[in-house]
Symmetry: C2
Subunit: 223 residues, 2 copies
């Protein structure tokens, strides 16, 4: 069984949403200690109770969180505000940013920020010493994908992990890999300019009749 | 058997290279009439003879080409010059641009042009009425992939087709699909800002021990 070798406590900010609660659920099931953070504290408590019941692990809820690892699963519109709070209130070493640069309902159009990508922007907002790892952008491009992530189903798509700091990147790769998802070390943060715009393309593909929630797999991997 | 319903003649510019000659070979095998164009006419003739022998179809070579469809497989450094020639000399309706914005030997670093992507730049260089379809950027990210493309091997990666003009996009999807590759209609040309930077990411992944020439597959497709 995987234990808490990576972080003493993981905060999932935006954890009341589909992606956040799915990630939190998978991490709880492999023994990680977590708290759910949200701008809606009542819903954070609700989600924490639901996850505790579903996983038989204690998942907490909190407004102010002291933790070493934050997983941010907010939509683009609230990414910046959430990051500023993280920068002020949390002594996190690593932040996993999952932001996809699109603005619903126009989910087929990419809105890359002037910095190049949402993840590069995240790194600029946060103080030096907090390492951003970009991941999960292409995982929940569609409800079907989110559903598989929420259940214990096999997720037939890869998570790409990008970040400047190698150690941060590897720790996220190990953490996510341990909870049943294939995650690939895809290089430095600047490559998030590739991973992020893929999701609007997947959303475009999803509009076609033959598609049932698209994702991506990297092929040519030996094992 | 697939016949020449799409274009009377296809020109593969840069067809002496790995990607160009592999595409030309596959198209010839399904009955397309083609000519190989190159800045090196002697090598274009050589390649044409080789492809004719390999496919039992007549593949020509030419400097000045009159054709309705051009497939451009030049490196980034010669993309612009080739497109300007196409704009001047060829009455093409559709141009398939395969340019990956990277500069060897730094194949892990993306060099997106100021226009946003190499394909968007291609569309700006060409006169109105010539439609650019971006494709094949992620197909030959590694020699292994190119090798499978050159032979009749199953290529375990998808081709993404992007372009402003729907008819042009669909004609390329049908043409490429007919020669044994899975190609997906991925939307408008602006989405090439996602497809193009993926290749440097794949090249990064290729540096890892467990990887044998990476590519991408879109998952969640019903058929």
């Amino acid at each position: 069984m995987f234990t808490t070798e990576f972080a003493s406590l993981i905060a999932v900010i935006g954890g009341i949403g589909d992606l956040g609660s799915a990630i939190a659920r998978r991490l709880a099931k492999v023994g990680e200690r977590e708290v759910i953070g949200s701008q809606n504290p009542a819903k954070a408590v609700e989600t924490a109770i639901r996850l505790t019941a579903a996983t038989a692990r204690s998942v907490g809820a909190a407004g102010n969180i002291q933790t070493e690892l934050v997983i941010l699963t907010e939509p683009l519109a609230s990414q910046e505000a959430a990051l500023r709070k993280i920068g002020e209130a949390i002594a996190a070493k690593n932040v996993v940013d999952t932001t996809v640069p699109l603005v619903p309902p126009k989910v087929k159009r990419v809105r890359l920020p002037p910095e190049g990508s949402a993840a590069v922007r995240a790194q600029k907002i946060l103080v030096d010493g907090i390492h951003v790892v970009s991941a999960f952008q292409n995982t929940a491009a569609h409800n079907t994908a989110a559903h598989k992530l929420v259940t214990d189903g096999v997720v037939d798509r890869d998570v790409l992990a990008l970040g400047k700091d190698k150690l941060a990147r590897y720790s996220v790769v190990r953490l996510v890999g341990a909870c049943g998802l294939r995650i690939l070390n895809t290089g430095t943060l600047v490559k998030s300019t590739a991973a992020e715009p893929l999701t609007p393309s997947l959303n475009f593909i999803n509009k076609q009749d033959t598609v049932d929630g698209s994702g991506i797999r990297i092929t040519g991997i030996k094992c």
